[in-house]
Structures are given as C-alpha cells and as structure tokens.
C-alpha cells in the first residue's frame, strides 16, 4: 500500500462522519410518513399500533407500526429489500422500496393529524 491510499481511506471516513452528524440526530421520532413517488400519502403517529397497506401502480407494501418501531412486513416487490430492512424508530430514519417508489420515513415534528390519509 502507498501513502495516498491512506488519504483515500481518511477522506472516506471523514465524509461518512460528516454525513452521519448531519443526518442522525438520534432523537426518537414522532410521526411516520408514507411517501409514494415523492408525495406524502399518509401520516401516522409513531405510537399508533397499526398495519397499513400501500398500493402503488407498481405494487403493494404492508407497513407495520408497533411498539414505537416501523417495519415493512410484506411486499410484492422483486428484491424484498424493504422487508429485510431493520425496524426504524429514530427521527430521520427511513425504509425505501425502490421498485415501488415508496419511502416510509420518520419525522421528528409532531403532526396534528393522526392516521390522516389524503
């Protein structure tokens, strides 16, 4: 290995660190947003206990909110990455299903609307 290799590694680590500081504030989130193709289609509070089916032209996902955590429990997408994704609970975290263009994200600001479906 050469000196500049370590520079590359250092730059990557610093970049990762910067983004980590920007993105994760570690706060427990308050509401769950379901975003389909860039638009928020449903909002839930994180303490609700529910299963919600998201239908898109590309397919469907079932989102489960339970005990302050959110996960995608079922989907008909080909890669199943969203289903394998770990549960999320902190503000800023998200589960993304690329084939269906669905984002399930947790936001920190408390929404007045409880289970409002537009």
């Amino acid at each position: 290995m050469k000196k500049l290799d370590f520079l590359i590694i250092a730059i990557a680590l610093i970049l990762a660190g910067i983004f980590l500081l920007i993105t994760i504030n570690g706060k427990r989130g308050e509401s769950v947003e379901i975003v389909v193709d860039g638009e928020v289609t449903a909002v839930f509070t994180l303490d609700s206990d529910t299963e919600y089916r998201v239908d898109t032209p590309e397919g469907w996902n079932i989102v489960k909110i339970h005990g302050g955590t959110v996960s995608v429990i079922e989907s008909d997408c080909p890669n199943q990455i969203c289903v394998k994704h770990k549960e999320i609970s902190k503000s800023g975290e998200s589960i993304i299903c690329l084939p269906h263009k669905i984002i399930v994200r947790i936001t920190g600001t408390n929404q007045e609307t409880d289970a409002l479906i537009n």
């Binding site: 500049l4 590359i8 990557a12 990762a16 983004f19 993105t23 994760i24 193709d37 890669n79 690329l98």
Partner: protein, 168 residues
C-alpha cells in the same frame, strides 16, 4: 495484441467476474441496508485496469453487468449496477494510471464511488433526498469491502506478473 487473443482474454475475465458475482450472491451479506454488497467482481475490474487497456476493462465491466442482470437480476438491477459501475470506473481508471496509488487505494475509492453512484440513482428514482440517510453506512461499507477486494487484487496482480505467459 492479436484480435483473437484479446477476445479470448476478454471472455475469460468476463466469465471470472460473472462467477465471482454469482459466488457473492451465495454469501449472505446483508445488514438490513440496501445496496450493501461485497463487490467481489471488482477484483477482476481492478486487475483488468492494471493489465489491459481501459477500454477492455470497461467492456468486461459492461458485459458482466448485463449478463449478471439477465441471469440473476432484472432490468432494474442492471440500471442500478451500470450507474454504480460508471461512478466507480470514473474514479478507478485515472487512479490506476497514476503511480501514486496501490490497487488497495484504487479499489477502496471504487467501492465508495460505486455506492455513491447507486445512491444518486436511488435519489432520482424515489424523487427524494431521503436516501441521504444511507450515505454514511454506504460509504463505510464501500470502503471496507473496497479495501478487502483491493488487497486480494493486489496479491493477484503481484503474482500474475511473475507468469511469463501472461504478457498482454
């Protein structure tokens, strides 16, 4: 290099990259983060960058992605792979030409660039900057797998140089 010799070498390395890609799919390597993978095929690409013309390395890469996608993935996965490969190749090519980096550094930068490239596509596909939350973990995973694959590539390159037959 003779045309036939070039075709044979391209075929061999494309096949090798495909096998490594398949081998990788057999190894469970998933920590609940999409896009995380070992990137074993990158050993071949790094190797090709040091032993062949850049255009040949790019051809191997492209053929590998298309065949791999048709065999084990989908059109969707091909598009993703192509963008990841574009980013990583754009970084690895000039780095491998300069004498200042070893294959480890080249591969590490390639791994990080690959993951960032895929993230950029993901950003456009879902139409949200939300994917930015994956950046730290994807940079780290790209770096770690890149370094490991780079170390393997470095040993391969060192040892292949000793074989006289291999004078491309």
């Amino acid at each position: 290099m003779k045309k036939s010799r070039r075709a044979a070498f391209l075929g061999i390395f494309c096949a090798l990259a495909l096998i490594l890609g398949y081998l990788e799919s057999l190894i469970p390597f998933n920590f609940g983060v999409p896009g995380m993978k070992l990137g074993m095929a990158n050993i071949i690409i790094v190797f090709a960058l040091y032993f062949m013309k850049p255009v040949d390395a790019a051809l191997i890469n492209l053929a590998r992605i298309i065949i791999n996608g048709l065999l084990f993935g989908s059109v969707f996965s091909i598009i993703f792979s192509i963008f990841g490969a574009l980013f990583s190749f754009a970084v690895m090519w000039p780095m491998s030409r300069s004498e200042k980096f070893s294959p480890v550094g080249v591969s590490a930068a390639g791994g990080v660039a690959h993951n960032i490239g895929q993230l950029v596509v993901a950003c456009f596909v879902v139409g949200a900057v939300q994917v930015v939350y994956y950046i730290p973990v994807l940079i780290i995973s790209g770096l770690v797998t890149g370094v490991v694959m780079g170390i393997i590539a470095m040993f391969v390159i060192k040892n292949i140089k000793r074989i006289k037959f291999f004078s491309i």
